[in-house]
């Protein structure tokens, strides 16, 4: 037992040294920094803390009396929305189609209380949809709360009290990036993305061991398969977490990103590193033992994940349905978690993301183990 732990330590240290003292590590750090810098500057305007359109969006509404609260809500953000009333839904629609207005809100015929009309994927649609949905929910809550009036006030207070004045409306805070600047956002996004690469490089070295015969040699020295795999996963985790730490320090120094609660950050980083290391293990288990192939597969998979998980294409400009479809992705969970932490969340508030990541890590580890047992059956 102690021999196994010692061996695992030796192999883990060796794998970490191979990655950390490799010239490629310069790229691993420089590349995301350059991307953060470029995106941080060019996408500056898109992030809600600073984001106001050049002119307020023109919103045409055709709504029944009962929906007056909604009009009132939207009008409360005059820098963002300029509200006009239309005679009927038909006229409101026409205004949007003829580009006399940026969006319209009309009463619908069916069960849906109302419809927002705007060009698909547009920012105004995203913002408006967010406000409308949040207002409806809040209205419904207030109606419900009005019946037992006991614990009403406190909730209302905390909700409004906590919010900064910069936002268009309390409702906009429903979006995860609210209150986060572009440098903060992309620092998080790119760290989440490149953490996977850092972690994966440990696995690539393991596969290399197999192709050179070093693996045979290590095993013949009395190292069991479980110890070797354990060392691979551990070094993947440590590399991911170490990368995240180094990048947190650099982005704080260069871009003044304030990373928030240290305990929450540490837990998030560990859970995140566990999930990327497990995913990397699963990938290598599925692929033949070819180092180049495993490296390339990692590049492809992590780039796709980064795209769908909001690292490279920010959630701000993603259609809402699209970002919701992929909200279960582990890297998205990490992104959401870090966003919350940067906004001031403690451990309690990120519990959901932590559990999600831990569960994802366990599932992927289990799957990978199954695959190893099935595909690499020849080995003892």
């Amino acid at each position: 037992m102690t021999a196994s732990i010692r061996q695992m330590g030796v192999i883990t240290a060796h794998l970490i040294r191979k990655v950390a003292f490799n010239p490629a590590v310069v790229w691993l750090i420089a590349m995301p920094l350059v991307i953060i810098y470029i995106l941080g500057i060019t996408m500056h305007g898109l992030f809600s803390a600073e984001f106001t359109p050049v002119k307020p969006y023109r919103i045409v509404v055709a709504l029944p009396e009962e929906a007056g609260f909604l009009v009132e809500r939207i009008s409360r953000a005059p820098k963002h929305f300029a509200v006009e009333e239309a005679r009927d839904a038909q006229e409101a629609r026409q205004a949007v189609f003829q580009r006399q207005a940026d969006a319209a809100i009309v009463a619908a015929d069916g069960d849906e209380p109302l419809t927002v009309i705007a060009p698909p994927g547009s920012i105004v649609l995203e913002m408006l949809a967010g406000v409308v949905q949040a207002s409806l929910e809040q209205e419904a809550q207030q109606v419900a709360a009005a019946q037992p009036p006991v614990e009403n006030g406190s909730r209302e207070e905390s909700d409004t009290g906590a919010r900064s004045a910069g936002a268009a409306d309390g409702a906009l805070s429903a979006m995860p990036w609210e209150g986060v600047g572009s440098f903060e956002y992309f620092s998080i996004g790119l760290i989440v993305m490149f953490m996977a690469f850092a972690s994966h490089s440990a696995m690539v070295h393991c596969v290399q061991d197999r192709s050179t015969g070093a693996y045979l040699r290590i095993r013949a020295l009395g190292v069991t398969r479980a110890v070797y795999l354990g060392a691979g996963i551990t070094s993947g985790m440590l590399l991911g977490a170490g990368f995240s730490l180094v990048m947190a320090v650099i982005t704080w120094t260069l871009f003044r990103v304030v990373w928030g609660n240290a305990a929450a950050w540490a837990l998030m980083t560990i859970a995140g590193a566990a999930s990327v290391a497990s995913l990397s293990f699963l990938l290598t288990a599925l692929l033949p033992s070819d180092p180049k192939g495993v490296e390339n597969a990692g590049g492809t998979v992590y780039s796709l994940l980064a795209f769908f998980g909001g690292s490279t294409v920010p959630l701000t400009i993603m259609p809402r349905w699209f970002s919701e479809i992929f909200s279960w992705l582990p890297n998205r969970k990490m992104l959401d978690g870090y966003l919350k932490i940067v906004k001031g969340a403690g451990v309690k508030e990120i519990e959901q993301e932590l559990f999600g990541l831990a569960a994802a890590a366990l599932i992927m580890l289990g799957l990978a183990w199954l695959v190893v047992m099935l595909l690499k059956r020849e080995e003892v």
Partner: protein, 339 residues
């Protein structure tokens, strides 16, 4: 050479219990039978050769012996310990030199040795001493602190062998340790292996170079597609070609009315007659005592006898006569030429 083999055999027998016992080893990958009923024993001080072309099953055999792959049936005992049931105990007695260059290019030779020595669990003081000894043995002391990436192919191969010696194993398994290197390094490795055997190590040496087996081994098995086609002391295996010798003489075009002469010879002589690339080859199954009769017949046919020679059978001949194919392709054969 013969004396070397004889000394080895004597040493082996004197030493009593064998260090390695391989018994009825069988392993298939799907329908592909990689090892098909291999058995042999190796005594301390002996070098056992596993000779076979690519795909013969040499590496698979070594992986089984090293405890990495489980055989379908059969067992391997190292110093009396089964690699299947007492894997780690058996492993502690052996050193393995894989076919690939299992060294880290970005580390120095000393760092490479240090890493594997730590995994072997050699404690610090003894580690340093052992690493120095090994570097000395493989002739890399002078460059011990240079990155392996700067080494020549031969130096890398020597380091590859050296790492297998960590922990002073009683049993050494080498998988084609001299592939693609310069003659000096090859010679160096072969001589090191000999010296290790002299010090009492039991060695299994796999190769597809016949000359290496001739130089090193007292006993061998020739394998092809997992099957053992010959097995035993080297002289016995060589003798599997029978007493046969090959009579070779130059047979340039134009000297004779070839086709007719050869046909006539083939009809009169009771043994195989072959013409290949300007050479006439006649296999004499009962050895050189058949030569006079054959020469007489050749003279009767008016074949000039200039440059005629008798060739004693070698392992290549055995492989050829038993499988009907060459041990290696031309390129590998050139590399295999000894310095």
């Amino acid at each position: 050479m013969a004396t070397h083999a004889a000394v080895q055999e004597a040493r082996g027998q004197a030493a009593g219990d064998p260090s390695i016992v391989v018994e009825g080893l069988r392993k298939s990958f799907g329908k592909n039978v990689a090892v098909d009923g291999l058995s042999f024993t190796v005594h301390p001080g002996e070098i056992f050769g596993l000779l076979g072309p690519n795909g013969a099953g040499k590496s698979t055999t070594l992986s089984i012996m090293a405890g990495l792959i489980r055989p379908d049936s059969g067992d391997v005992k190292i110093g009396g310990h089964s690699v299947i049931r007492e894997t780690q105990r058996a492993q502690r007695l052996m050193g393995v030199v894989p076919q690939g260059l299992a060294v880290y290019e970005e580390l120095t030779a000393a760092q490479n040795l240090d890493y594997f020595a730590k995994l072997r669990g050699i404690e610090k003081k003894r580690r340093r001493q052992e690493i120095e000894e090994i570097l000395e043995l493989v002739g890399l002391s002078g460059v011990a602190h240079r990155k392996v990436a700067q080494y020549s192919g031969g130096m890398k191969r020597r380091l590859n062998v050296g790492i297998g010696l960590l922990g002073r194993p009683r049993v050494l398994l080498l998988d084609e340790p001299t592939v693609g290197i310069d003659p000096q390094s090859r010679r160096h490795i072969l001589d090191s292996v000999r010296r290790l055997a002299e010090s009492g190590m039991a060695v299994v040496y796999t190769t597809h170079y016949m000359e290496e087996v001739e130089y090193l081994c007292s006993r061998l098995a020739i394998i092809d597609r997992g099957r053992v086609i010959a097995h035993g002391p080297i002289d016995e295996v060589r003798a599997l070609a029978g007493d046969a010798v090959v009579l070779r003489l130059p047979f340039p075009r134009g000297v004779l009315d070839e086709a007719a002469k050869v046909e006539s010879l083939q009809n009169t002589l009771p043994m195989p007659v072959e013409v290949t690339s300007g050479e006439l080859r006649i296999v004499l199954p009962q050895g050189s005592r058949q030569a006079p009769a054959v020469i007489e017949e050749l003279q009767r046919h008016g074949v000039p006898l200039d440059g005629m020679r008798l060739e004693s059978p070698n392992l290549e001949t055995v492989f050829l006569s038993l499988t009907g194919k060459a041990l290696r392709d031309g390129k590998a054969a050139e590399e295999g030429a000894m310095a």
